[in-house]
């Protein structure tokens, strides 16, 4: 069965101050499809990514999100992950004292235990082998596994660690929040090629980006433009090229300022 994530008329605000960010987002992503989400700063792209994962900094005020017909918004963050949703964070937090390998082993075992409460988790030799394979395929140095999660990682290392986690957890729908930002051209190539390897019939992707250059590696099936908390324009890969060339002003003129909530 092909997994489908349906976002319907989603509204969300910042929990701390009630600032309205998402103002009626509609989007459907199927396993195997690559959707690019573009748009100016502050248009709500990151908020959408975080809301889908259940970040407590945001509150849903209207709308629904269905994962294969199940209410995603009713699930806790960890359940969403185990159901196949993944978020590659734009700014992953560092976790002192927890190594990347230890963290991923717990993440995998949490999945196995959710499926079978009797599960003792993945045997360590099997886990180590799996990690090495994934690290090799993404060109990640093995020493990464023993380092504290994101602690002292460079920008590029953090992004690669996010992609590595994605590779290990094999999500059905992956959301990548500006995984290309803050990278130089070499780091971008490594990260983008890593993502490219992971996309395919098994994984649907929502790739949030400002720039076409990421999409040179990962060809989107659909490109969407978000402004003022809504998706205002959707098209094929050519839309990204158009945006690269013309910027967002033409869309601002076309759609004007948002209605005040």
């Amino acid at each position: 069965m092909v997994t489908t994530l349906e976002i319907r008329n989603l509204h969300a605000q910042v929990a701390a101050n009630g600032e309205s960010i998402l103002r009626g987002v509609n989007l459907t992503i199927k396993q195997g499809e690559v959707h690019a989400l573009m748009g100016p700063n502050g248009s709500g792209k990151s908020t959408l990514a975080n809301v889908l994962m259940g970040n407590p900094q945001y509150e849903i005020t209207a709308g629904e999100v269905l994962l294969d017909g199940e209410d995603l918004l009713e699930m806790d963050t960890d359940e969403r992950s185990r159901a196949g949703i993944f978020l590659a964070f734009q700014y992953p937090v560092s976790i002192p004292g927890v190594t990347l390998a230890n963290f991923l082993r717990h993440a995998i075992n949490a999945r196995l235990k959710a499926e079978d409460p009797e599960s003792k988790g993945m045997p360590i030799p099997k886990f180590v082998r799996m990690m090495r394979e994934k690290m090799n395929s993404l060109g990640v140095d093995h020493s990464f596994a023993g380092r504290y999660l994101n602690e002292g990682f460079s920008g590029g290392e953090k992004k690669r660690a996010e992609v590595l986690q994605m590779a290990v957890l094999e999500p059905k729908i992956a959301i990548m929040d500006e995984t290309d930002s803050g990278l130089d051209i070499d780091a971008l190539r490594i990260v983008a090629e890593g993502i490219q390897k992971l996309t395919g019939p098994e994984m649907g992707a929502l790739v949030i980006t400002h720039y076409q250059r990421m999409l040179d590696y990962i060809t989107p099936d659909f490109v969407h433009v978000m402004m003022h908390g809504q998706i205002v324009e959707s098209g094929g890969a050519e839309l990204a090229l158009q945006l690269e060339e013309k910027g967002y002003d033409w869309l601002r003129e076309k759609y004007g300022q948002p209605e005040q909530a």
Binding site: D78, V93, I95, P96, V98, H106, A110, A114, Y148
Partner: protein, 443 residues
Amino acid sequence: MVVVKRRSDALTQPRYSRDDVTTLSDKQNEPQWLCEARRAAWDVYEQTPMPHMEEEWRRTDYRSIRWQEADVMISANGVGEEVVPAKNREPLVGDTQGGLLVFVDGKVVHHEVAPELTEQGVIFTDLNTAIQEHSELVQANLGKAVQAEMGKFAALHAALWQNGVFVYVPRNKVAELPLHVVIYNTKEGASLLHNLVVVEENAQGTVQVDYASAEAEKHSAYFGGTELIVGDAANLRYVSLQEWNRETYDFSHQRAIVGRDANLDWVIGNMGSRLTKAFIEVDIVGKGSNARVSGFFFADKNQFFDLDTQQNHNAPLTTSDLLFKGAAKDNARTLWQGMIKSLPKMQKIDGYQVCRNLVLSDDARMDGIPGLEIEADDVICSHAATFGTLEEQPIFYLMSRGIERPHAQLMLISGFFDELLQRIPFEKVRERLTEEIEAKIVG
């Protein structure tokens, strides 16, 4: 006997007398020098008021102790080492043990020491036996580091300690096999044991001491004294893990004296007790020496831990490195008061003193007061106390990978302690502390 009335019939201090001191000395058939030392300590005890608003005590209110329960001396009633839980009996430092000494309710119920250690002249026995068999050695070292004058409870301890452990590693000898001491109480009341560890010049030793007691309803008091005498060019690794029941008030003075070109690696774990007031002090008296102190504490429910640490640089070219890491949950309270001191003109000293605190509930309170008194100008000294809580964004991050919230919290808390655990040179001690962390979080 002085009994001061306060509310109803509550005692404000334990009911001991000079006669108790004499009776104890007589019963144990102690040499003259010890009888005199005990009596002198008793004089100090009588002249010293119960601690109250002195600087090192004013944040610590121990007055909830029911002395009418806690001052009753625990006496052994024939139970053996089988009552000691496996985790407290298990050797944590090294696989092969050089010796095991188990006290139950103050009585030695197990004593063994490896022949190869005895052949080297290593002494590992209870203190009362040591006084009978090695009186001069004990006399030369007892009271070197901890004296009655240090406070009310130090004086009480010096006057009335019942037994304890004597570890002695002679000059140039290496006691490779670790020595393990277990102090376990099944009964409620008072106990006072003294740990005297002497590692002579160019010698080396490793000692683990476990304190624990069975769950109880009545209050208990432990008046502890620990002396670590590290000779010139000597090495001592000392691990102490305190896990008293939740009705025990622990008042202890623990002090190390470190000679020239020597190394002390001291690990302290404080998990148990209702209230702990520990004075932990390192005196570096010889040039070129290093002392490392690593402290773990985790308080929950109504526990109150007050850990006072002091690093005294009394010689130039010395290093001290103290890291304490602790957490508090429920309505627990912790307090760390640290101090680095140097004598005048002790140049080229490097003192490090940090206490990191993780506050796990709104009702828990943690305080940290670092201090420096340095009278030299060519020194490196740093001190800090930090405080944090479990933040929502790291929890969200871990949960976003499928890890359930309680497990995510556990990972973050364990991660917090990892920096400290990595300093502990014994894998099983690290494992044991990791288990304690989990038990505290779940419990």
